[in-house]
Amino acid sequence: MKLPDKTLNIPDAIAAIPDGATVLVGGFGVPGTPFTLLNELARQGQRDLVLVKNDANEAGMGIDHLIGNGQVRKLIVTHLGLNANAIAAMNSGALEVEFCAQGILAERIRAGGAGLGAILTDIGIDTELANGKQLVEMNGSAMLVEPALRADVALIHAAIADPFGNLGYAATARNFNPLMAMAATRVIVEAEALVPLGGLAPEAVETTGAFVDHVVELTEISQEYGIVRR
């Protein structure tokens, strides 16, 4: 026995995404955003997408390209603060935006990855984020039902991967990536470095390859991944 090889090229990995797909996108700001996979998705032009991401990147990078192309029907996000384009698209009605508390978005995705139905939480009670949500009484307190969020596809950025899809992340580029890597039917990973099986120690693996479908190695780290001088 040996562990299966899941390496693939970028165009073929992205070509498996159909129109209308719900897509989880890793990253918090620049770190951990799979820019190369997103650029290929922009190039291939799949439409009517529902994107789930912490933020909307900044104007001119990452998912902003997809929003600008009109490929995105809906965005589930915790904030849009740094992307004026996305705010404008939301305000004009061109883009449907669902806001979620940051940790609850993380938990909803994790619940999807963990095969749970939902979590019960009091986060957001007394705020407009509770509007329209199912309530359950538990020990005399009202709790919100926050449904698990599972997607068709997850686009993940890793610092290091092996061919089975075991992953390691760099610093705060971890963020939503390990959660999203558990929560999609098709998990596509771009890795800055691809090492042979055994190149990642079992203790150092942050996402087991058992959750991963495709691994692509980045041949260059483009400027988008770099320092942003504001």
Binding site: M1, L3, M182, P202, G209, A210
Partner: protein, 217 residues
């Protein structure tokens, strides 16, 4: 191990397709790996937090911190990964476990499985069995066809507390390969030397017999 049981294990090994993530129950199911080629691409999962289970190790070579869910000392392979118990069952429940091979006390012809409790006699708790049986993409049972007293384990309905309802797809025994179908048990293969009459006598529910020749194993 009897010859028929050995052939059952070898036959069940063919359940494992390239690329699968597989969880093998304690006991006989773990032995199917001995029938896979050295370069066969598969990922073995252990509930206590390991993907990529390697060979079992003798005590003098064992790592005190590296066991499988049955408590056996095992090794890693290139590409193994450790994780916590929540991640381990996340994998099981979220559809990433392609196959589980489990033992059974009873299997019903509607796919019900009982393999964790005999009230008044054996009730140590289910461990991870309920999640494996309820959520693996394919649930396959490997068991002797009858219990030690000769009573059938393949039944019309389970009498013991259930592990999962309607989840068993196929049963490998020392007498036959039996599928669970919408019409109940369906014979697929017979062990060498077993007749249809033997099988019917040892099974506690009707079994559909194919009209064509019945393969043997």
């Amino acid at each position: 191990m009897s010859d028929a049981r050995s052939r059952m294990v070898a036959r069940a090994a063919q359940e494992i397709a390239p690329g699968m993530v597989v969880n093998l129950g304690i006991g006989l199911p773990t032995q199917v790996v001995n029938h896979l080629p050295a370069d066969f691409p598969v990922c073995l999962h252990s509930e206590n937090g390991l993907t990529g289970i390697g060979a079992m190790l003798p005590y003098d070579k064992a790592d005190r911190n590296l066991i499988d869910a049955g408590g056996a000392y095992v090794s890693t392979v290139p590409g193994s990964a450790f994780f916590d118990s929540a991640v381990s069952f996340a994998l099981v429940r979220s559809g990433r476990l392609d196959l589980t091979l489990l033992g059974a006390f009873e299997v019903a012809c509607n796919g019900d499985l009982a393999n964790w409790k005999i009230p008044g006699k054996f009730s140590p708790g289910a461990g991870g069995a309920i999640e494996l049986a309820q959520k693996a993409r394919r649930v396959v049972v490997m068991t002797t066809h009858c219990d030690r007293k000769g009573n059938p384990k393949l039944l019309d309905a389970c009498t013991l507390p259930l592990t999962a309802r309607g989840r068993v797809a196929r049963i490998y025994t020392d007498m036959a390969v039996v599928d669970v179908t919408p019409d109940g048990f369906a014979l697929r293969e017979l062990a060498i030397g077993i007749s249809v009459a033997d099988l019917r006598a040892a099974t506690g529910a009707p079994v559909t017999i194919p009209h064509s020749d019945i393969p043997t194993f």
